[in-house]
Amino acid sequence: MAYDKLLTRNLGKPNSATLDAYQASGGYQGLRRVFKEFTPEKFVEEVKASGLRGRGGAGFPAGVKWGFLPKGLEVPRYLCVNADESEPGTFKDRLLIEQDPHLVLEGIIASAWAIGCHTAFFYIRGEFHKGARIFQKAIEEAYAKGLLGRNILGSGFDLDLIVYRGAGAYICGEETALLESLEGKRGLPRIKPPFPAVVGLYGCPTIINNVETLANVTLIAERGAAWFAAIGRPKNTGPKLFCVSGHVARPGVYEAPLGIPMKELIEMAGGMMRPDRPLKAVVPGGSSMKILPAAKCDVLMDFDSLAAAGTSLGSAGMFVMDSGTCMVDALWNVCRFYAHESCGQCTPCREGTGWFVKILKRLERGDGVPDDVELLDNVASRVEGNTICPFGEAVAWPVQSYVKEFRDEFQEHVTRRGCPLAAAAAR
């Protein structure tokens, strides 16, 4: 199927990050169209009609989220752009920020206008030094050209956009933790309800959207909801950036419509890295999502198809593992990540993540006992659903799915007192 690149259309062009290059290829026409042809309320309806689902991980329809803002309150509304891309295996937002910041910026302006926000924050993870520099420059260009600030493009709409750098905390990608961090505090997720759309930043109604979601808003602004909804599959509309990493020949970001078969994506990425090692498993949506063994990999990459397969599209950070991968080692690595990144606020996650690491370390080192496999599964079930934020699920799901899909391999670590693959490699 021939597919014209939409989100990545400007990539690879010279100076793609500059305003001049962006406008030369038709940039900011969508914003002009929106200002001319829509009212804010109508544009919210347009985004709803497009079926655009959030690209940050949960896949919640963006227009519906905007609709949750309470009406008639005399308090400011805020838009926070979630550029705290920290999910292992995900690097799509970074690509957009570094290579086509104005595509994102246009979407931010259109969205802020739609929801009536006059101060927006661009929360970018602290490690993205280059991205923050580029985006800051893009903002300065936009201010200079009247695309930000007072009376944008003569529409009478005012918007200030502030780049806010995180400082190294995965949890700040969770939207309420992001708000806490933006308020200059420890990034501890808040209890919900109230949801941020009602009580958010500084206690005011706040919308938090992912970078890629807002880039998609630009596309909707340019060509309309009907066109957008025709891409992909029903209820899973629009183009999507897929991050393919791990044991493939050419890891990278690949754009495709939602609903592309997983195998096709792997082919796009050049197939397996080593021809002698076949596919063993794929994590389709960043390390928080459940793993799919090779046998279950004939799926379409969209929200609903993956949900039906028992996992989730998440942030579309897909990593591929070949037959040389030890699942216990892989899970140990994943759990180390979560133990390191748990905010430590609520009990199950704080204590559970550390416990997983200890059990898995024992298993991998050959000190496991037969009950450990069941213990992992059971502890995960006690973390899942009992935490303040979805971090609990983000660690419980991989643990549960790795154990479920590769139980024999876990058992083997116990019976053979160590990692069979490591032993084979040592021989």
Partner: protein, 157 residues
Amino acid sequence: MSLPVSTETDRQIDGLLGRFPQRGSALLPALHLIQAEKGHIPLEAMDYIAGKIGVSPAFVAGVVSFYTMFQQTPIGRHHIQVCCTLPCALRGAGSVMGYLERKLGIRRGGTTPDGKFTLSAVECLGACDTAPMFQINEEEYGQLDERRIDAILASLK
């Protein structure tokens, strides 16, 4: 009392205070500024910034200790942050780390005696397409192998 930061940083921090709807938001940017100047965030600076923003020093220290990018003690001039999370680990982050440890003669978390390099294992840096990779201060280096690492380290003063 002398300022624990330079007058330039102090001026920039004053500028930050009015920038946000609430003063508290200035904390993270201010800490970034202090770290940019000092290389780490000394206790006196935490006390100073707490007074500026109107929070308690303990709160500031709590924030500093929460975010991994804030250093509480001085580190080497070049901070080598090796991504060790799964997508990088699948592509050999372990051997990159092992090579660096042998080459620099320090363990992860350590600093070379000459204060040139600090080696850290960090979690996903969002560059899995270039795995295995590391970040030195603000620059990223991907597709690492031993030859490339040698060349990168040799180019650093």
